[in-house]
Symmetry: C2
Amino acid sequence: MPQNTENRVDTAKLLARMPLFDGLPQGQTALLAAHSRGMHLSRGEMLFQKGDVANGFYLVVYGQVKLAFPSFSGNEKVVDVIGPNQSFGEAVMLAQRTYPVFAQAIMDTLLIHVTRDVVFDLLENAPSFARRMLIGLAMHNHSLVHDIESFTLRSSAQRVIDYLLQLCPSDGNCEGRIDIILPTSKQITASRLNLTPETLSRILHDLAEAGLIEVQGKRISISNPQRLRVTLAATHMDESHSETSRPRAPKRTLAVAPAKTRANIRCAKTRKPITELWA
Amino acid sequence: MPQNTENRVDTAKLLARMPLFDGLPQGQTALLAAHSRGMHLSRGEMLFQKGDVANGFYLVVYGQVKLAFPSFSGNEKVVDVIGPNQSFGEAVMLAQRTYPVFAQAIMDTLLIHVTRDVVFDLLENAPSFARRMLIGLAMHNHSLVHDIESFTLRSSAQRVIDYLLQLCPSDGNCEGRIDIILPTSKQITASRLNLTPETLSRILHDLAEAGLIEVQGKRISISNPQRLRVTLAATHMDESHSETSRPRAPKRTLAVAPAKTRANIRCAKTRKPITELWA
């Protein structure tokens, strides 16, 4: 059971720092604080289960919360990882549905829970809040559509390259070397991209062999993001693993071979079997 | 180029009938109408391309608009089909992004385009509009998350059964016979479910063979929705075609075999090869 830390957390101060409530008149911040509470989750603690009823939404002060679909086969599909200053659960609360995912802290996390009633009150009386909440939902919507495109039309390699480019500060539009840090564990990153951890490791290995990246744990050096972007564009011309878009022409050989042909792949240079780069 | 039918369409009257603008004060409906225009699309006509800039959003008066990702392999992935009284493009407009999909009329369609400026004006001055728009986006969000679950964790057969149950008036929670009409063509329905038309036909054939449905063109009779729901629940225990959730235990034999094992399947009763049921 998540711990209520009401007495130790100044909810009003934390709320005032959240971009969502920026510029809210002071009276409304006080009202908001009165209908919100801080809560602490330890690593691994569950916040809600799929099917639970939503009576508010959450803001992350620090830590990370994983949103995922449970699966009967014992695995799970991570839909999102929510970090500091981000919110989640607004859509479920507004649509008055039950949670389609479960939420679990993947590190020590401090959250603020804002109750539904005060949200509806603010929507009525604070247009700037309504506008920000709409833009937040719209951005989330946009990223869900991007995920659908990714899962239905992109190969495993394309998904990984696209993800690395998204983590580049300039979205990969530069030619200089860039170091990025993967924000979560290998397991969670793989699930987020709808891959097995083994497939993710193999693709990173292939990209490293092609001289496009260097991998050290969670740190990845991209030698030339623009070159990585060109590789992505080239694979778009050739590959597609989705059922609705099976390629009709024979595939050209790619620096990054499609996952299905790499079951027993060996390194192009050394001819050694692929090993886990990212332990 | 879509035709502007401003002179022949009373935009104000059409807008007043839209649930999104229900209860809007008369002055604001007039303002809205002044910043909106009716437009007619013939079947097959493109409304916008992926990458176009959004300067408003659309409401469908009659007809159907398909939203889809283009694919280099010549196919496409249908994300949504928008029908009468539904809207689209709000998220892209609010997030100030370019369209991630293209939009094409799949039958003769009358649309209303509402420009961004009047939307922001209404968000500022009409809380009921802001609330309705938020709830609309939240519902859309919820359905995108449902699609992601479907594409990443459900087998082809599960996706088809789930879709049929969604089309039942009572969401499949009844035991009596129900007739449903598929709202779009076989091609579009298949793409919407991320299947090839052939796979969709095979699954419908299997379900018919199992006595769960009868298919006549776009009309499908579900003999007992509750039984179909039980079949779906049973397949959840066994199957999963997603890469992240490959089943670890041997599969039990199912009434509806997984798509991958049905390449050359024959009818269980007659031993004849599967033929197209849904021409």
